[in-house]
């Protein structure tokens, strides 16, 4: 039995311990906001937060997240004062998404970065945000991140 909390709700799933968290979220819990992109932790579309840390859920077996607090895109705004978290609002303000498929993972990764490091350098942003976006929203991703940080350059 796999036990963890997702967006504050306790879950108990009778699934294989080696099932990746991604498929437990999507196919067992119906939380489709977290996306499948590559299955090998190369693209970041499946990024969720486990105890606040960004994790690529496509290669993370549920046995590795036993007892943890998991936040998905659906739960990101739960602790925000507004309907959207600051990162989500910045994404709208800067019109970041295009097709939008990678953006759940992108937003989860950025939000984890800014929680841990509210004022990252450009190098720190580059090192932390390695998600792939085929639509090429990178210039706007950087602008949106910069709108949330004090510094405007490294």
């Amino acid at each position: 039995m796999a036990r963890f909390r997702v967006n504050g709700v306790a879950q108990e799933l009778d699934i294989e311990p080696e099932m990746p968290l991604l498929w437990a979220l999507r196919d067992e819990l119906g939380l489709t906001g977290t996306k499948f992109g590559c299955g090998v932790a190369a693209c970041g579309a499946c990024t969720v937060q486990v105890n606040g840390n960004p994790v690529r859920s496509c290669v993370t077996p549920v046995s590795a997240v036993e007892g943890t607090d998991i936040t998905t895109i659906e739960g990101l705004a739960v602790n925000a004062a507004a309907a959207l978290s600051p990162v989500q609002q910045a994404w709208i303000d800067h019109q970041v998404p295009q097709c939008g498929y990678c953006q759940s993972g992108m937003i989860m990764a950025v939000s984890a970065l800014l929680t841990a490091n509210p004022n990252p350098s450009d190098d720190e942003i580059d090192g932390a945000i390695t998600n792939i976006c085929r639509c090429g929203t990178y210039p706007r991703v950087r602008k949106a991140i910069r709108s949330l940080t004090a510094a405007t350059t490294a």
């Binding site: 498929w23 499948f36 895109i73 097709c99 498929y101 580059d126 990178y138 706007r140 950087r142």
Partner: protein, 735 residues
């Protein structure tokens, strides 16, 4: 009312012809069919694309797919502007995938873009063609320039006229005394006012005019403004549903392995191994593939991996990138088909003071959309329901019907956002759809077929690999007098290999050389390969002639003022003549595609490991007029990054008949860390609208390679750049 295709094909027309906004004959117009069949709760269709509700909301039905290009915002802007609708009261829906919403305007637009003059009396016939051909396609950078400009604006303006006519009749005042503003019709003299919602049901009784008065640009209230995209809020909170997010009661998931050598048939599979595993329901054997169907995708995928699958051996097992390139070289020595023949190129080359030869190649490329290919199908009651994201819902409806043998009207499409299109989700690239249909046919519950990233990468319809050989000649005064170009594969669009420059003698021809590798449209189609070839070779010629590559181009654009203006704007904006940081250089490239002209300047340096670093891309573009300037900029940014990813990293290679690359770890993508700063400047020339989804992709590879030449002295004639280790050894500085 059910619209039956067979009856239609037999000629007993249910849905008449006519431009989508209607026509005046005895047959029912499209909007009245919509009112009879689709309107509910007092709703009124004034055209098939515009519905007005009693609460005064206007709903625009968009016959194009949203894949990030902003079409769910730009097309409604165009209709709402002409309608004088209050944007706050405008809603958007995806047009249903039914005959009624086949896109005749698009067919006419493409025909006109090919130089075919289409008289108005043929509109009805064109509309029929669009229905028969299931046209609801999103591609060719066509949505705004054709559907928007010739369809949505006309629909909005026609509906506005119908509303004014209705108010005039109701108040018994001349139409000329009425004004429409923010979803209300006003009679200033009497102070009377009515909402569109109050007028719509009476207005719907009029026939929409096919030639309403359209606004002049200075009258626009929405077009030209950076209106925020309607689809974005759902894309930041996880609620935007893509095809893979379809969730249905009792659904099953299929994982598929197709013969890695394209077209080879399945010989055997030990299905029992999979059937013993948890959650596995069935193993489905297809002609050239095996599917494992289970109650969870991961379980299906794991079981599939445990199988021993044998495919037949064929001669194609011997094919490699090297054998294909050798085949291309042979084909170019054989019989060629004429593309362009102007002047007398052989004589000009024979008499030239100097000639230059160069042969260029680019490899196959995968689309690698972020959402791996998938499709969900449910067969029940001799009908089918389909859930998928596609660039042509009507086309996919037809495809599922033809694969399953159902009538098209017994197939219902459920539309979703696309996790990337780029040409991969067009109606002629349906291997995933075909498989999903055949798998689901064996079940009475919905089955979601999902391709792994590996399948997605290895079963694509690839951008064609192309070899292109050039010979050019200068006269004794260093004027370019002859241009000969022989390339493989006929181009779509045909003009992709045509240089914009004035050169007196041109001979361009192609050789067909087919392989077993499936190919398809890849963002900007043949322009992405040929702009790299043309604009690199032109650059070679400039250096050979001892001229500044920017000035060399400009000098040959005297009869192309729009091209010259775009080139000049890019150069000036980028600071072409300024001093660059040590170790940096600039390259420039120009191309017209899909009606838009784009020039780009790339600022580049060489990293200490010999790889290429692109710091900044300046992009000047003339698309006539920007409907939504923010979307124009984002499409340019997107197109540049797509093209730059290909230039730096993109390479699909073939060995033993199959694709060697498997996933993003060996088919690398540009990421945030290597993404350049991008500066987009638009030129509002007022020319006919050009497309935007594709035109920014072609020039960037040549712009970067041309800068690399300045930095290293090495002319890049094959992509991608990742295969080179450059040493910065400047031979000349022209900037």
């Amino acid at each position: 009312m059910k619209i039956n295709r067979r009856r239609f094909l037999l000629g007993t027309t249910v849905v008449g012809g006519g431009l989508l906004i209607g026509y005046a004959t005895t047959r029912p117009s499209k909007h009245s069919v919509a009112n009879d069949t689709l309107a509910e709760n007092g709703q009124s269709f004034l055209t098939t694309w515009l519905r007005i509700d009693p609460d005064n909301t206007v709903t625009v039905l968009v016959p194009h797919s949203e894949m990030g290009q902003g079409v769910l915002t730009s097309l409604p802007m165009m209709a709402a502007d002409e309608l004088d609708a209050d944007w706050d009261l405008v809603r958007v829906e995806q047009a249903p995938a039914t005959d009624l919403f086949a896109n005749g305007v698009l067919v006419k637009g493409f025909a006109q873009s090919l130089g075919v003059s289409v008289p108005g009396f043929l509109d009805g016939a064109i509309n029929k063609v669009s229905e028969i051909m299931n046209i609801q396609i999103t591609g060719g950078s066509s949505s705004v320039r054709f559907t928007g400009e010739n369809g949505m604006r006309v629909a909005g303006a026609a509906a506005r006229e119908m509303l004014i006519k209705t108010a005039a009749a109701r108040w018994e005042v001349p139409e000329s005394e009425l004004t429409a503003r923010l979803s209300h019709v006003h009679h200033e003299a009497s102070g009377r006012t009515a909402t569109y919602g109050e007028l719509a049901s009476d207005a719907a009784r009029f026939e929409p005019s096919p030639t309403p008065r359209l606004k002049e640009p200075h009258e626009f209230t929405l077009m030209g403004k950076p209106i925020p995209r309607i689809d974005i809020p759902a894309k930041v909170d996880g609620t935007a549903a893509f095809g893979m997010d379809a969730r249905l009661p009792g659904m099953l998931y299929a994982a598929v392995k197709t013969s890695p050598v394209f077209g080879n048939k399945l010989v055997s599979v030990n299905s029992d191994v999979a059937l013993q595993r948890r959650g596995v329901v069935r193993v489905v054997e297809l002609d050239d593939a095996v599917a494992v169907v289970a109650d969870n995708y991961w379980r299906a995928k794991q079981a599939l991996a445990a199988l021993d699958i044998q495919f037949e051996a064929t001669a194609n097992d011997q094919v490699s990138t090297q054998s294909i390139y050798a085949q291309f070289d042979t084909a170019l020595q054989g019989e060629l088909s004429e593309d362009v023949e102007e002047g007398d190129t052989p004589t000009a080359l024979a008499g030239a003071a100097t000639t230059i030869d160069a042969t260029y190649r680019v490899p196959y490329l995968a689309h690698a959309a972020m959402e791996p290919m998938n499709c969900t199908v449910h067969f029940h009651d001799s009908k089918a329901d389909v859930w998928t994201g596609t660039q042509d819902n009507l086309g996919i409806r037809g495809r599922v019907a033809s694969v399953s043998g159902l009538d098209e009207n017994d197939v219902t499409m459920h539309m979703f956002y696309l996790g990337g299109g780029f040409g991969r989700r067009l109606p002629n690239t349906t291997n995933t759809i075909d498989q999903a249909t055949r798998i689901a046919q064996q079940f009475d519950v919905p089955v979601q077929t999902i391709w792994s990233r590996e399948e997605d990468m290895q079963q694509d319809y690839y951008r064609p690999a192309v070899t292109s050989a050039f010979r050019a000649g200068f006269d004794a005064s260093n004027n370019l007098i002859a241009w000969e170009n022989h390339y493989t594969t006929k181009n779509e669009p045909a003009e992709a290999a045509h240089p914009p420059y004035s050169i007196p003698n041109k001979s361009i021809a192609y050789a067909d050389s087919s392989t077993h590798v499936p190919t398809g449209a890849w963002r900007s189609v043949a322009h992405s390969q040929h702009t790299f070839f043309l604009e690199s070779f032109v650059d070679e010629l400039a250096h050979k002639a001892g001229k500044n590559p920017y000035q060399f181009r400009l000098d040959m654009l005297r009869d192309k003022p729009r091209h010259a203006a775009v080139l000049k704007t890019a150069a000036e904006r980028a600071g072409w003549e300024r001093n660059l940081p040590e170790g940096h250089a600039m390259g420039i490239a120009l191309q017209e595609s899909f009606g838009s002209i784009v020039a780009q300047v790339a600022e580049v340096s060489i990293n200490s490991d010999g790889s290429v670093r692109v710091h900044r891309v300046t992009c000047a573009l003339d698309c006539g007029r920007s409907v939504n300037p923010d979307t124009v900029a984002s499409q340019a940014e997107s197109g540049i990054i797509y093209g730059l990813t290909a230039a730096l990293y993109g390479e699909i290679t073939i060995a033993n008949g199959r694709v060697e690359q498997t996933n993003f770890n060996d088919y690398e993508m540009l990421r945030l860390s290597d993404s350049p700063e991008i500066d987009v400047v638009t030129i509002e020339s007022g020319a006919a609208l050009g497309g935007l989804g594709e035109p920014a992709t072609p020039p960037v590879a040549a712009a970067v390679a041309n800068a690399v030449y300045i930095l290293t002295g090495q002319r890049v004639r094959e992509l991608p750049l990742k295969n080179y280790r450059f040493t910065a050894a400047p031979v000349e500085r022209v900037a």
